[in-house]
């Protein structure tokens, strides 16, 4: 299971890559592997400001539908449009090409509440 040390994580299996007061968010390698083939991503929140743990979009695998939650409060700046036609990129490269949204973080202090790689690894192995 690939869990990069430079990322932050949520218990709902999103990852966060912080760049100043902005962040890229996706789903973890564990999440994509559990979901199986990802066939549809729906993000209709671009431009909105959402609270931590609010649903920012939906990820659909062949058999299941899951909501995705805001790791921290913020404004959704962009959606990875490549995922509209090739959502399977998330299966192949969940931490890179498979990023899902870009955020403007409302309060960087909330980042401290996220899991580090070690804590996330413990969570998925539990």
């Amino acid at each position: 299971m690939n869990i990069p040390a430079n990322l932050k994580y949520t218990k709902d299996h999103e990852w966060v890559r912080v760049e100043g007061d902005e962040a890229f968010v996706g789903v973890t390698d564990f999440a994509q592997s559990e979901l199986g083939d990802i066939v549809f991503i729906e993000i209709e929140t671009v431009g909105e400001t959402l609270n931590k743990e609010e649903v920012f979009g939906t990820i659909e695998a062949v058999k299941t539908v899951s909501d995705m939650f805001m790791p921290v409060a913020g404004e959704i700046l962009a959606f990875n449009e490549k995922l509209e036609d090739t959502p399977e990129v998330i299966n192949k490269d969940p931490y890179g090409e498979g990023w899902i949204i870009k955020l403007k973080i409302s309060n960087t202090k909330e980042l401290d509440e996220l899991l580090d790689a070690k804590a996330y690894e413990e969570l998925v192995n539990a």
Partner: protein
């Protein structure tokens, strides 16, 4: 949880295992889409050992089968298979099944894993009127038989290498008892629930590992792959084949489900619910199971509501998925009368949005 004769192979192959109908079963190995496409284009192997097998034997075997199933089993000849269902006496369906005619006094009923106990109890109860006893005229062999479905356009070609008789030109829905990979008296049946062609092979549990190895060896040059329950579901749904528990149940009638073609109202056959179902057929029903495909982007799922252009409820999705071949959402739904014709626009409510879809003729995926 029960294992099948092949469970160890699934685990060694790294399959994602899930509990299904009390069995530990593989849901996928390399990914549902890849497995699905392998079956449509080449060939794949499903462990379907969880299915139930009941023998019906003796001079009254045909009479019993005629009474409990909706299709006309009197047209079967030795070596012929028929798709059928058990009407439940209340206008619904106990299960759908395959009926194999071995000979005049021997029939094999193959039922869904999730319904084995219910079906068995039902058959035993109905068998009383025929003087049948458990273990004699009715025999539940579900725990003794394992089964592989080898499906896809290259399946019979591959299997020809390991069987002692010609099978490539076998008619659809027929079977032979033959030797396969040195296993005697296997049932080799040109059936399956994928719409991709191929066969299903039944052997005793102890012969399972031998069969598995021989099938994969024979199929290697054709690109054979193991296929999980996930792709089994997407393959059957592209064809518009019913899944018990989703599309048909104790509260849906075969007429409503579009299974009129396996419900035979002929003089020489009396069966459970015949009168009621004939009335339904003649007077018409108010809802019918229909296939549909999405026009808007979205994936329909079981229990999503179906509405008309004005938002009035007209039905409910019973099965839905993203079609791996069509790359769009497809599904089946019970719809009220005005919406049965092909190309009729309907709307699926997906996360509070009304997304456009259209009714299509079956199969949903036209190869």
């Amino acid at each position: 949880m029960k294992n099948t004769a092949f469970t160890q192979f699934h685990i060694e192959l790294g399959a994602k295992m899930v509990p299904f109908a009390g069995y530990n079963m593989p849901v996928e190995y390399t990914g549902i889409n890849n497995e699905h496409i392998t079956v449509r284009e080449k060939l794949g192997v499903f462990d379907v050992s969880h299915m139930g097998e009941f023998w019906v034997k003796g001079p009254k075997a045909l009479d019993f089968v005629q009474k409990v199933t909706s299709n006309d089993a009197s047209v079967l000849y030795d070596g012929k298979v028929q798709y059928s269902c058990f009407p439940n006496g209340k206008g619904g369906i106990v299960d759908d099944l395959l009926v194999y005619k071995i000979d005049e006094e021997t029939y094999l009923l193959v039922v869904n894993a999730a319904n084995i106990e219910k079906d068995w109890n039902w058959c035993v109860e109905q068998g009383k009127a025929f003087g049948f006893t458990e273990g004699k005229e009715l025999y539940n062999a579900s725990n003794e038989i394992c089964q592989l479905a080898i499906q896809g356009p290259l399946a019979l070609k591959a299997m020809q290498k390991i069987v002692g008789q010609p099978v490539e030109d076998m008619e659809f829905y027929t079977f032979k008892k033959l030797n396969i990979a040195g296993i005697k008296d296997a049932i080799f049946s040109t059936t399956g629930y994928t719409g991709a062609g191929g066969c299903e092979v039944y052997v005793a549990n102890e012969d399972g590992p031998k069969l598995w190895k021989a099938v994969f060896e024979a199929g290697k040059e054709f690109g054979i792959q193991p296929i999980g329950l996930g792709a089994r579901d997407t393959l059957r749904l592209e064809m518009g084949f019913c899944l018990y528990g989703n599309d048909i149940s104790d509260t849906t009638s075969p007429i409503e489900a579009g299974l009129g073609w396996i419900t035979k109202f002929v003089d020489h056959k009396d069966f459970i619910d015949k009168k009621f179902l004939l009335k339904q057929k003649e007077e018409g029903v108010t809802r019918r199971l229909k296939g549909f495909e999405m026009i808007d982007r979205g994936i329909p799922r079981q229990h999503y509501e179906v509405v008309d252009a004005n938002g009035n409820l007209i039905g409910e999705v019973t099965s839905g998925t993203m079609s791996p071949m069509m790359k769009k959402g497809i599904g089946m739904a019970y719809l009220t009368k005005e919406f049965w014709k092909a190309d009729t626009e309907i709307y699926i409510k997906i996360r509070n949005k009304k997304l456009k879809a259209k009714v299509v003729k079956l199969p949903i995926y036209k190869s």
